[in-house]
Symmetry: C2
């Protein structure tokens, strides 16, 4: 049963979200006596909470040092929820293919899906998209302060490695490039990170295991990269993957993005694949023999979802999810608005390897319908069999959690393609989802204003500006000379790819990697 | 003679402006050992200083509390310069129509033109242009913290009153309106302020007098309001002005903007005219009998320049520039990129009244050529005489200081109309101007990066992002509930128009005002 308490109320009336108070028992907070501006309306919306709600969205550096009422409530929720996650984490990670957990929606699964979705969202919030920044295409924060810089002070994770890819591949509309000539790298883009849950005792107890999390960046608004895809499946074995079966195929564009490198570039002289595999190997070796169990969770939105599926498959195919003691580490991919990645054999091979994939999608999003819009797993069986050998028969992997933005009373019903693809909106939809046909009720009260960070999706009467996430003065600051500058940002030791040659040679099939 | 020292160097090479060090004697500051990012280039540009430079541009709240090297140099310059301004302020204010002060350019005049230009620029920096803000069209800061909020800590002025105009006039493209329904005012826009120089002893000594400054806001980018002008001159006397001569005429759109009111609106129930006149009257009465002399200086850019001319004229025509003791207070308008305002009789009447106008223009800007592009003061004498009675014969007032953006090696040569009209660019051009045919040399080293605050005017190789002035997260902040909101901003007591009925009735010609 979905745990919707009977007192739940969702009344997204035409009032500013700022007047939404989260304590149903205290609907009428006293108005500030200092502020007498006439547009301050009285509270008119109560957002109820169910148990097992998500962590609070703490994603902005501006919130440094503020312990909010939301923080306190979140801690309370987490305390209640932690026991369940500790006991059920293997099921939450998909041990039983999430049977019985999605309809009605399990509150712990919902909470975890939002948490991993926020780890994917962090890739957007941290990415420098500004073509007029000389750091365009890089991560705006140093690795060690990654979560803190985003205002996520209690993530419970430490970033172990940043991931880069070379932009010298055939997805010109995916990569961000600076308009300036002097830039941090001409050929690399930051693509995400590998993080590992830290030693904090409370967090370990909550998770129930040590977690290695991999997050891949996708695209927020521009979907042109879909058109760039060659719509061509090629055998993964030709790209250095361990798989000996040439009928296991994946989209060539994703494979290129994952495996290409640029030996002249400090950041992408190793492929994204080499970067992630060596780091997973290192972390599994380091933590695999601990008393705690271990899990590997890969997350990504959009094109990042495709990389999540590819890399989850790759880790398992390489056997990196086995500890020296022989324990098998479960590998799970949570993807959000992800496209199809490979063919039916690719899907079958992932199932053989026990890699679990849960795909969260908005039913109105076209990206999960790509590539293979016309020939995919939904085609009649006979046709699929016939087309199985053809290069363009794509197939989704794993389980789907289908959401519908038209069920949320907060969101505009009719929006453009990139808006329907928005990740923050998916997290909002998750928060309100309780099962098929169930009424939309926010579980955690996760701030709906976050939806508009990089979209124009909230209904106008909530009065949240569209695309409001932006840096003060585009990151320009005054230096000690009194001049406005783009500050030097990146410390080389945090960003340059460490030399991983020695790690690559230690992989089980080094010849396929090098 | 222009005071360009022989060691002056201006080498705007293709390097980031941030590497420009301002001490020619210390061109090679040690690089930070923390920052090893490879794009940090060595200093390659030295900007020399001449005496009599402008105050430093301190226009951003982010600079709170930072005393920069620029601050120290500025204080040194100001100390040297203050003696001259104290002795010559009447000439700087136009007593002799700036004869001999513009070619070669007098450094004190240059500095004062930049200073008053920055007071006009403050109207843009403080204005809420965002249609998705419920405060769109208002001033973002409270009156008492106006300059501080802009990072201008040593302005030496206190804002005495905010000025508003009703948007219910026929200049639809001039006014900013919120897209939301709940807004601070449906019918008013903030238009500027009246400030008065404060009691700080050093500042008083520097200025040589008490100054009442009036700054009017114009438009930064959108020039559509020019097309809205009816291109129709009407007698000022019909609009409540004291002038008994019906042949003294001004552009009807400017007159409407200046004199219209909306009795249903708290902010514009008195016209901009009534607001400014009553405040000037109050301040002249308060300070007119001090030992110090008094001056009235009106400043404005673009349409704000037109309001500056109109209100300077009006103050003098109303006789508000006479103290109770009978002293005449000089009235000066410094305008930047201002259009023509009235006809030849209007110009003559201003001259009779002794109002001084100095117009700073970029030769490539079309606004100062409007209205009256075809029939103006440059037409042959006979034609002018013939057309004098026609409604569309416009005439500029006062002296012109013509600058040319193509003389600055920092600026793009070919730009669109609104860029050529940019106020920050004019201030930059002032800083480099030394007289007709003189080489462009920055006098104060005023940060060229400021030019791109709201334009794309700097050459690309300086690597300053275009339009970089923006608020963090469009002003959204997290409240104590952890939610992202547009904070309530305006305290009514600072913004609502005070009741000035009693002041209006005290004016010399109350029947014409009420």
């Amino acid at each position: 049963m979905a745990t919707i308490p009977s007192h739940s109320l969702l009344l997204p009336n035409p009032v500013n979200l700022q007047t939404a108070h989260s304590f149903p028992l205290k609907p009428h907070l006293p108005q500030s006596t200092m502020i007498t501006f006439p547009t301050r309306s009285s509270p008119a919306m109560a957002i109820s909470r169910t148990e097992g709600a998500s962590v609070s969205p703490r994603v902005e550096p501006e919130s440094y040092g503020i312990t909010t009422a939301e923080d306190i409530r979140r801690r309370d929720r987490e305390a209640k929820e932690s026991k369940r996650l500790r006991d059920t984490w293997r099921k939450i990670q998909g041990e039983d293919d999430w049977a019985g957990l999605m309809d009605p929606m399990d509150p712990v699964l919902r909470s975890e899906l939002i948490r991993y979705g926020e780890m994917a969202q962090a890739c957007y919030d941290a990415f420098d998209f500004d073509p007029f920044s000389k750091y365009c295409g890089s991560c705006r924060f140093t690795r060690k302060k990654f979560f803190d810089s985003l205002g996520i002070f209690d993530s419970g994770y430490e970033v172990a490695r940043y991931l880069y890819a070379t932009s010298n591949i055939n997805l010109p509309n995916f990569f961000s490039k600076s308009r300036w000539s002097k830039v941090w790298s001409k050929n690399a883009n930051w693509m995400g990170y590998v993080a590992v849950s830290d030693d904090d005792e409370a967090k370990r107890r909550r998770l129930g295991r040590r977690d290695i999390a991999i997050a891949w960046r996708g695209t927020v608004t521009q979907l042109e990269w879909i058109a760039d895809l060659k719509d061509f499946l090629k055998p993964v074995s030709g790209n250095g993957f361990r798989c000996p079966d040439p009928t296991v195929k994946a989209e060539s564009g994703f494979l290129d993005l994952y495996t290409d490198k640029d030996t002249t570039c400090n950041f992408s002289k190793f492929s994204a694949r080499e970067q992630v595999l060596t780091e997973v190997k290192r972390l599994v070796e380091r933590y695999g023999d601990e008393e705690d169990d271990l899990s590997i969770t890969v997350t990504g939105h959009s094109l990042g979802g495709a990389l999540a599926v590819l890399s989850a498959y790759d880790v398992a195919e390489m056997g990196l999810n086995r500890t020296r003691g022989g324990k098998v580490v479960p590998v799970t991919a949570f993807t959000y608005g992800g496209p199809r990645v490979g063919n039916i054999r690719f899907k079958e091979r992932m199932e053989e390897l026990g890699v679990k994939v849960l795909r969260v999608v908005n039913e109105h999003d076209v990206v999960p319908k790509s590539p293979g819009l016309f020939l995919n797993e939904r085609a009649p069986h006979a046709l699929k069999k016939l087309a199985g050998g053809l290069p363009w028969c794509y197939c989704h992997v794993g389980e789907k959690l289908a959401l519908d933005h038209q069920n949320s009373p907060f969101l505009k019903s009719s929006v453009d393609l990139s808006t329907a693809h928005n990740l923050e909106a998916l997290l909002h939809l998750l928060d309100g989802y309780h099962g098929k046909g169930q009424r939309f009720v926010l579980s955690s009260g996760r701030d709906p204003a976050l939806v508009n960070k990089a979209s124009d999706f909230l209904k106008d009467h909530f009065m949240v500006p569209p695309n409001w996430r932006q840096d003060a003065n585009k990151g320009m600051v005054r230096n000690t000379e009194g001049r406005w500058i783009q500050p030097d940002r990146i410390r080389a030791e945090d960003h340059h790819a460490p030399d991983i040659h020695h790690l690559l040679t230690q992989l089980q099939y080094p010849s396929q990697l090098l």
